[in-house]
Symmetry: C2
Subunit: 248 residues, 2 copies
């Protein structure tokens, strides 16, 4: 219990007993992080970096869902770096996950052509659109205050080895920006999957992965439906949430 | 009956009594043309051009489904121009549709900033991929033999007025090419709709419209499902096919 502050909670990730420390009032992880960790292509025990790791949710979920042993989470807000590191320690993942303070716009210190995969659940909303949060932590995680799509993708292109995978979760409304930025920085879009609340709704999440210096060969996957006709989670969503347990 | 040759058939479009002449062995229109005519944003009685009109199916369907009075269909194969013109005459649409012979790569004669809308159901398949048809007419309509996505979009950008709509039907696998080409030629992607055989399948058709010198504001529509769970056409597909009749 010494692990958490008064304004924090410990969330049970319901997967291999992993837990996550979050602020009661700050950014709290959602379905998008879970879907990203499931969707991402990560070479077994390859070098992975999570750009904008926040609470560290995606690296911890990757440890639950994939065979990973070397994940760096980059976060610009010092209090989140500190909190994410406590989550890493809480789960005994210090050998697999390093959380570091850094600015996505300048990660030269991490090296070039070094990583097998990048994952990112970046802020979704363009500046000058949408309602800004008065809470700084939420604002930075939602709006492109400190970095935008171009920053994420240009940095990914520097960090990735040739044929390495960039895995992103985002809003469908930004798909044109993502695709054009990927091609601008020599990352070829390879797989796109749309997530819909149900089949009668437009998509509200997009999962996209691209390959650095990959050939042109875009594929779409079948839609991922979050809810079934009874307004309960679909079989596939339950499988994604529970996969870590069934693999034990 | 003098309207058709021995190697042709007359198809009843089941919409306002319109008919279409097609070669028995040539390119024959499909669901994609019907969906494009339904999806397209066309200003009432605006100037419209159909790039790669083939049999003239899209201009004729536009006359069935929209309020149009000024459509030019451009086709590079002289025998198709001649056949499409016979279909126009057969339907008494000579006042509304002009079919002209022309090369999409050079349509300067049509003027600049002249059109309210462009529609196109272009060849879907990149050269050097897929199996080429030995039948020249099918080959040209399927493979990018005589024009590619960049040709269609750069020419559309020249032809369209500012805020005019480019409406395209294509294969989802080409979406990255379409989006990047649109932005390259100052056409901003605005609406995307995916068409799926059913909800358990990946999309096999994409409908996309962009606006010349439009602001960035991409929206997705709910998926269009072709078949329902009984393997018969879905209610929406039946409505799209039959809309012309119900409006009479």
């Amino acid at each position: 219990v010494e692990f958490i502050m008064q304004d924090e909670t410990i969330e049970d990730l319901q997967c291999k007993d992993f837990k996550l420390i979050q602020k009661k009032q700050g950014f709290r992880f959602g379905l998008d992080s879970v879907l990203l960790a499931d969707f991402a292509t990560i070479k077994n025990n390859g070098k992975v970096v999570d750009l904008g790791t926040g609470t560290g949710i995606v690296p911890i979920l990757l440890c639950a869902k994939k065979i990973v042993s070397n994940v760096i989470g980059v976060e610009i807000q010092p209090h989140l770096v500190e909190m994410a590191n406590r989550s890493v320690t809480l789960n005994n993942l210090q050998d697999k996950i390093k959380i570091i303070e850094g600015d996505i716009k300048n990660l030269d210190a991490l090296g070039r052509d070094e990583f097998d995969a990048v994952v990112s659940n970046p802020p979704y909303i363009k500046l000058n659109t949408g309602i800004r949060s008065v809470q700084k932590e939420k604002d930075i995680s939602r709006h492109e205050v400190l970095c935008n799509i171009d920053d994420i993708i240009s940095t990914s292109s520097k960090l990735l080895k040739d044929k390495g995978y960039l895995n992103i979760v985002h809003k469908p409304e930004r798909l044109a920006d993502i695709i054009c930025s990927m091609r601008k920085y020599q990352i070829e879009p390879k797989f796109i999957r749309f997530v819909h609340p149900n089949i009668n709704k437009k998509p509200n999440i997009v999962l996209i992965k691209g390959v650095k210096r990959g050939g042109q060969d875009l594929k779409f996957l079948k839609p991922l439906l979050v809810y079934d006709s009874n307004y309960s989670y679909s079989t596939e969503i339950n499988k994604i949430y529970g996969r870590g347990d069934t693999e034990q």
